[in-house]
Structures are given as structure tokens and as C-alpha cells.
């Protein structure tokens, strides 16, 4: 209804306002021809998903290299700690200006250990400060106000862990999203952000909505790399409705990658393409000798 009114008033719609955004090409002809606008659109969220070892990082690295070669900036937010573009660098792919942020993904067990350590440290400091306080009072030194510490008797066993029933299970990705948010808030810092999420990572929808809004305002293309567990090639996006483009990748042979447009807000739904990559042994491990 509102778009109809906007049209009558000849007001620009959201799509028209976004029309000044740029398109980032991957440099892979088959992939660029497959994509609705010939590339990844700035200001939109895209997802490349597939099983482990399906080739999604290969495509994402090629996209970064093409963006860097065009004189723009690209960032890779590595939530897995496993990003290793060895063959790309050996082959002279220009990744020298690629900004890599190795944001560790915090797991719930690590968070619990952190909280426990914090409470234990706080408790020991409280006891230590109490003894210091009495000593300092006795010695006539400056009296610090420890009234709060005295009232609260912090014990590890008394820590109540609040479970957020709305918090999805799986590893938290807050550091990764925070890194992305920092890049988006500095408008114009980068043109492309690759977000490498570990398997079984769930992104809270509210955070994804905020990222989408920031991406629209800054015109940055964000591409999420997600991993599907199991053989299922068809399924819903793990990142919800905020994704404008979803590509599913499947390795058809050692060097052939099948790409399907599983979701697209700009057309070309269910279009497929095959991309050929180099043989790993043809690039030769012997080059490392």
C-alpha cells in the first residue's frame, strides 16, 4: 500500500534509494553471470553455504582478491581461526591488503569459565581488600570505601547464572558481529566484509537486523560463509530472512563446484552454474620446498 502511495507522490522507494550502490564482481565469469546483478550488491547481506570442503572459501577469497585488485578494501572476519590462503599467496593472488580480523568465537563453556574465574577473582580481591582495609586503617593510610564489597558476600557457589531462554544454542558469535559492526560504523572503511562463521553458529535475528540496516546505510557488501552439517543440500537459511542472496555450493568433483541460487531478492532463483577451480596438487605442494 505504501509503495503505491509513494508512487503516486513520486517519492523514491527504498529500492530506488539503494540504487546508487555498487556491485562487486568476483572475477569468476560463471559466478558473475549467475548472480542477479552481475555481482554482490553493496548494502545487502549475502550467504554462501555448503558442506565443509565444498569450496565456499575459495570463492570468497577470489571475490576478495578481485575487490582488492579494483583498488577497494576488503575485510575477512575469521570466526574459525582456520583461514589460511596459502595457495592464493603462492599463486600471486593479490591479498596483501586484505584485512583479516581473527575474532575468536566464544563458546558457552568458555563464557562460563570466564564468569567463574571473574567471580573467584572478585571474591579473592574482596577478601584481600578487606584485610588491606583493616591494615590501612590501623596504619592510618587513606581509607577506601569498601562498603559495597562488604555488603555483598560473593561466593562462586552463589553465582546465579541467568539462562536467556531466547538465546539460541551453539557458539556465540558476538565478537565476530562486533568486528563487523565496527567496520560498518566507519562509513567507507571497506567495500566488502567476509564473515567466516564456524559450524552450527546461530546469529541472533536482532543483531542481524542491525547489521542489515548498517550495511544499507554504508553501502558495504557483507557475505556470510556458513557450513551445513550433513548431506542435505536443500534447507532454510541459517541466517533468516535478512539475507538478500543465498548461494549453495556443492563440490561435484575434485575441481568442479556446483552453485545454486537458493534465495534471491533480485531474481534468478534456482539458477545454477558450475565453477572450475585448480587442482590442489597441480599448484604443487613442492612449491613449498
Amino acid at each position: 500500500m505504501f509503495s503505491h502511495i509513494a508512487q503516486q507522490l513520486q517519492l523514491p522507494t527504498a529500492e530506488q534509494r539503494q540504487s546508487t550502490l555498487e556491485v562487486l564482481q568476483s572475477g569468476i565469469d560463471a559466478l558473475d553471470q549467475l548472480l542477479p546483478c552481475g555481482g554482490f550488491v553493496g548494502g545487502q547481506l549475502a550467504e554462501i553455504t555448503g558442506n565443509s570442503s565444498c569450496g565456499k572459501r575459495t570463492l570468497a577469497t577470489a571475490l576478495c582478491a578481485n575487490v582488492l585488485a579494483a583498488g577497494k578494501r576488503a575485510a575477512w572476519v575469521d570466526g574459525t581461526g582456520q583461514f589460511y590462503p596459502l595457495l592464493q599467496l603462492e599463486f600471486g593472488v593479490p591479498l596483501a591488503r586484505l584485512l583479516v580480523i581473527r575474532a575468536a568465537v566464544e563458546r558457552p563453556s568458555e563464557r562460563d569459565r570466564r564468569e567463574t574465574h571473574h567471580s573467584e577473582t572478585h571474591h579473592s580481591e574482596t577478601h584481600h581488600s578487606d584485610s588491606n582495609h583493616s591494615d590501612s586503617n590501623h596504619n592510618g593510610s587513606v581509607d577506601r570505601d569498601h562498603s559495597v564489597d562488604r555488603r555483598v558476600n560473593v561466593q562462586p557457589a552463589n553465582i546465579r547464572r541467568f539462562v536467556d531462554r531466547h538465546q539460541p544454542s551453539g557458539p556465540l558469535c558476538l565478537p565476530v558481529l562486533k568486528a563487523v559492526d565496527i567496520l560498518l560504523q566507519n562509513n567507507g572503511a571497506v567495500s566488502l566484509i567476509i564473515v567466516d562463521l564456524p559450524p552450527q553458529t546461530k546469529v541472533p535475528p536482532r543483531l542481524l537486523a542491525r547489521l542489515k540496516l548498517s550495511a544499507e546505510q554504508s553501502g558495504v557488501a557483507i557475505v556470510f560463509l556458513t557450513e551445513q552439517i550433513g548431506r542435505s543440500f536443500h534447507g532454510s537459511s541459517s541466517l533468516g530472512t535478512f539475507i538478500s542472496l543465498q548461494l549453495r555450493i556443492k563440490r561435484q568433483s575434485g575441481t568442479q563446484l556446483g552453485i545454486v541460487v537458493a534465495k534471491s531478492k533480485n531474481g534468478k532463483m534456482a539458477h545454477q552454474a558450475v565453477v572450475t577451480i585448480d587442482e590442489p596438487h597441480s599448484v604443487s605442494l613442492a612449491s613449498t620446498i
Binding site: S19, S53, A70, Y84, L86, L89, L183, N186, L285, T288
Partner: protein
């Protein structure tokens, strides 16, 4: 036989300025750069010439002859623009056009006999085109450029056209007095001493005599007096308008898609125009449609600009109004009219880059503050053997400071597509199940479908920690590609190709 036309525009810049400001046409005016210590007259108008003021005269003398002289400072920009305008007019008559960097233009008429069979009519065409500016002009046509140049200056009275018959260059030049041919002062004195008064008498000297007497100074002169010099002018190559184009694999008429594509093309075009320190005054859009029709339209911004957003707004306004009969197959954008960019425009264009740099530096500082220096890195190759040590993660700031790596825009990227590796650090230890043909550890198992290799890697034998590995590539039944190595009687998973 080749023919050359020479267009001589006496007092070239001054007449162009007078054409713009006719009030100077009756008053004595000169062009002189009075900012220099020993200023001299560069060009003098007709009233000034009548008063005895001539080129190369000192300003002191010129002011003595005419105290009310109007002095116009030279303007290189105006001169250059006028020159380009004249060249554009002459490009319509001949394929090769040149300029002697002073006041003469040349047209190489070789091969244009069928286009211009009558040289007198060609001369009239040239006069008609120059009259659009307007500038007084004299046209001469001869075999050699120098002959045409001399013939143009030999025109007297009301004659504005001089055509030297083919093959008569030497004879024509011989009839002219010595003053018609510029020559060094030494040679002028030599001719005066010897009593040589015309070019014909100079031609009677033996070939090479002047060269033997005056050396290189006379080499060019000898070639000119015999009509053999053709190095009088520099060929001016017409600047082609900057153009970018794109062929679409899938024809489209979608407004969004078209705007996306035009935005990318405009960014490239403005960058190319900016590199020449120009601005776009008129943008021409060309569409080839699926029904083989061609749509062309020109867009003029309010002011010549380098802003791709401003030009895209103009395009967008027209896109929404136009009714396409078919889908768009190919797009071309060209800057058909350009202007000189002001310093502010160039600074604003560069400012866009500078703002991006400042934003990037700010983001970098925030990321380092949040994650630490060792988490904001860039990959670099190191000269080692082991694959897991080949990449060194260097913190981004020091990497930027130490190496001035500047990748120019549109650097061609290699067409190869090497696979990316997911590296496990430290490598995961796997156990081989020979019966079931799989590798497994506590978390996962990999059923082997095919293997490639082995690739032997051995080194650092002189070290305390030598290595000796056998690498294999494993294709699993789940289409995964693993990189394993055998070391210390154990299989290790180095990484996955992803």
C-alpha cells in the same frame, strides 16, 4: 605524390582574444608577458603594426612608439583551447592534422584526392570553417610542409590562398626573397656578404656546402631550400572521448539492475576523466536494445562535474520516464564533452578517497583496541618449508608502514582459481582403519574414495627439529578434499580444501 595544406593564422592568440572582445579590434593591442624583466612583444594587432610595433620588439620601444598601447598578458589556457577548437575543425577535412606549436596548422592530404579533387575548393572549405571562429587565415597548398609554410607567408595583399603546383616546390621557393625563409643570423650574414638575395641563388650553391660551412645549423636549412624538409610540424592525435561500455549477458529492463550497472560504469568513467584532470560537461548514453534498435541520449549536468552520483541522478530521472520497447543488451557511456577540472573539483574527488582512508584508519584503531594487535592482521608469505609456517600473520599497521604496496585500480587478476585451505593448527591426529578404509578421530570419520600423492617433504636435517613428511590428498565420499601427512608413524590432518 603527397600534398600538404598549411593554414597560417597570423597573430593567432591575439586575434582570438580580439574575436572575443571586439573593442580591441580598433585600438593598438599587443600580447606581452610584462612580468618578466626584459619583456618583449609576442604578438601585435594590425593597428599596432601600423604604428611600427612588431613582434620581438622590447616593451620599452613599443611603449615609446605608442603610449596608449593595450597590453594583454598571454593566456596559455586560452591558446590551448583555441588550438584544440581549430584542430577539431580541421579533423573534419583530413585524417592527419598537425601543428607547428606556433601559428600554423597542417593538413596531410595524402590519399584524399577522391575526397578533395579540387584544391582550390578545399582551401575555400578551410576558410569557411575558420570563419566560424572567426580568425584571419591564409591557406597554402604544396608538396612539402615547409613549402606550404613558406608559400603561406609569401601571400601578399588580399590574397588568402596560395596553391603551388605539384612538383614545383623548388621552383616556387626559388622565386622568393631570402627573408621568406627563416634562417640563423650567421647564415643571413653569410648570404649578405656573398651577395645572395634570393632563395634561387641559395639553391645554386652545391649540395652540402652550407653544411660543411655551418655544420648542423645549416642541415635543416639546406633541406628546406630544396623543399625536402618534412619535419615542420607535429602530428596532433585527436583525443578520443573517454568511453566505458558493458555487454550484458542477460538482457534486462529492470530499473534497479540498470542503475546498479550504470553506477559501476560511471565510477570507472569519472576515474579515467579525473586522471586527465578534466571534468565531464556532457555525458552520452548509448543503449543497444534486444530488438536491434539503438537508443542514444545526452545528459548535461548543471556544471561540469566529476560526481558520479550527480550524473547517476540525471540518468535515473530519465530511466523512470522512458518507455523501452525492448530489453537492454549493451550499455556505453562516453564523456563527449569535457572541461578543465578546477583545483576544488579535483580536491573533492580525492577527498572521497581521503575520507575512505580516514574511515579505514579509524576502524583499524577500534579493532586493534578491541581484539589486540595480533588479531588484526594481514597474510604474508615467509621463506620456510612447512606449509603451516609458510604464512606469517603480520599485524596490519606495521605491514602498511613497512611496505608501500599500492595496487593500482583494475589490476588484472590471474585467471587461476587456487583452492583455499582451512588449516588445523596444530594438525589433528587421525587413525587409519584399513578394514573400513577410513580415517577417524574422536569427532569425525572420513571415508576415503580416492587419494592422490604421495608428495614427499623433507628438510631442516641440519636443525634440531628436522621434518620428514609424506603428504597425500584424500577425496572422501562426502566430496571433501583433505590434506594429510604421515609423520612420526602417525597420520595428521593438516587441513581441508574449502
Amino acid at each position: 605524390m603527397s600534398r600538404t595544406a598549411c593554414l597560417w593564422l597570423p597573430q593567432f592568440e591575439l586575434n582570438g582574444r580580439i574575436a572575443q572582445a571586439p573593442e580591441f579590434s580598433e585600438a593598438p593591442a599587443i600580447i606581452a608577458d610584462v612580468s618578466t624583466l626584459s619583456a618583449r612583444v609576442l604578438e601585435a594587432s594590425l593597428p599596432a603594426l601600423r604604428l611600427g610595433i612588431d613582434s620581438h620588439m622590447s616593451m620599452v620601444t613599443a611603449r615609446a612608439l605608442c603610449p596608449d598601447l593595450t597590453v594583454i598578458p598571454p593566456n596559455a589556457t586560452f591558446r590551448n583551447e583555441l588550438k584544440q577548437r581549430i584542430l577539431q575543425l580541421l579533423y573534419q577535412l583530413a585524417p592527419v592534422v598537425g601543428h607547428d606549436q606556433q601559428d600554423s596548422f597542417f593538413l596531410d592530404l595524402s590519399g584524399t584526392e577522391r575526397i578533395h579533387p579540387n584544391e582550390a575548393q578545399l582551401a575555400q572549405q578551410i576558410h569557411r570553417r575558420i570563419a566560424e571562429i572567426p580568425l584571419p587565415a591564409i591557406v597554402a597548398i604544396a608538396d612539402q610542409p615547409i613549402s606550404a609554410w613558406i608559400a603561406a607567408r609569401a601571400c601578399s595583399g588580399a590574397t588568402q590562398t596560395q596553391i603551388v603546383p605539384a612538383g614545383d616546390d623548388q621552383a616556387f621557393i626559388g622565386k622568393l626573397p631570402l627573408a621568406n625563409l627563416p634562417m640563423p643570423e650567421e647564415i643571413q650574414r653569410f648570404c649578405h656578404v656573398l651577395g645572395i638575395a634570393s632563395l634561387k641563388e641559395l639553391q645554386t650553391l652545391p649540395h652540402g656546402a652550407l653544411c660543411r660551412r655551418f655544420g648542423k645549423l645549416a642541415d635543416q636549412l639546406e633541406r628546406r631550400i630544396f623543399g625536402q624538409a618534412n619535419d615542420v610540424f607535429n602530428i596532433e592525435i585527436p583525443p578520443s572521448p573517454d568511453q566505458v561500455s558493458l555487454d550484458l549477458d542477460d538482457p534486462t529492463s529492470s530499473l534497479e539492475v540498470l542503475l546498479f550497472l550504470h553506477k559501476s560504469l560511471l565510477d570507472r568513467l569519472t576515474c579515467e576523466v579525473k586522471n586527465k584532470r578534466l571534468v565531464i560537461a556532457c555525458l552520452q548514453l548509448g543503449w543497444q536494445l534486444a530488438d536491434r534498435t539503438v537508443v542514444e541520449r545526452q545528459f548535461r549536468p548543471a556544471q561540469p562535474t566529476l560526481s558520479s552520483r550527480c550524473l547517476l541522478d540525471l540518468l535515473g530521472l530519465w530511466f523512470r520516464q522512458c518507455d523501452l520497447p525492448a530489453e537492454v543488451l549493451s550499455i556505453s557511456l562516453s564523456a563527449v564533452e569535457v572541461g578543465r577540472a578546477t583545483a576544488r573539483q579535483l580536491a573533492l574527488f580525492d577527498r572521497q578517497q581521503q575520507v575512505a582512508e580516514e574511515a579505514f584508519d579509524s576502524a583499524l584503531a577500534q579493532l586493534v583496541a578491541m581484539f589486540g594487535e595480533r588479531s588484526v592482521v594481514t597474510p604474508e608469505l615467509s621463506d620456510t618449508f612447512l606449509p603451516e609456517q609458510r604464512i606469517v600473520w603480520r599485524d596490519y599497521r606495521s605491514a602498511r608502514l613497512s611496505t608501500a604496496q599500492k595496487i593500482t585500480a583494475h589490476t588484472p587478476v590471474s585467471q587461476s582459481l587456487p583452492p583455499a585451505i582451512r588449516l588445523f593448527d596444530p594438525p589433528r591426529k587421525l587413525t587409519w582403519d584399513r578394514k573400513r578404509k577410513l580415517f577417524f578421530d574422536a569427532d569425525t570419520s572420513y571415508h576415503v574414495r580416492r587419494t592422490d600423492g604421495p608428495f614427499h617433504l623433507q628438510g631442516q636435517w641440519w636443525h634440531d627439529t628436522p621434518f620428514n613428511r609424506q603428504y597425500i590428498l584424500v577425496h572422501t565420499d562426502q566430496d571433501e578434499l583433505l590434506l594429510l601427512f604421515w609423520e612420526d608413524k602417525r597420520w595428521h590432518l593438516q587441513g581441508l580444501f574449502d
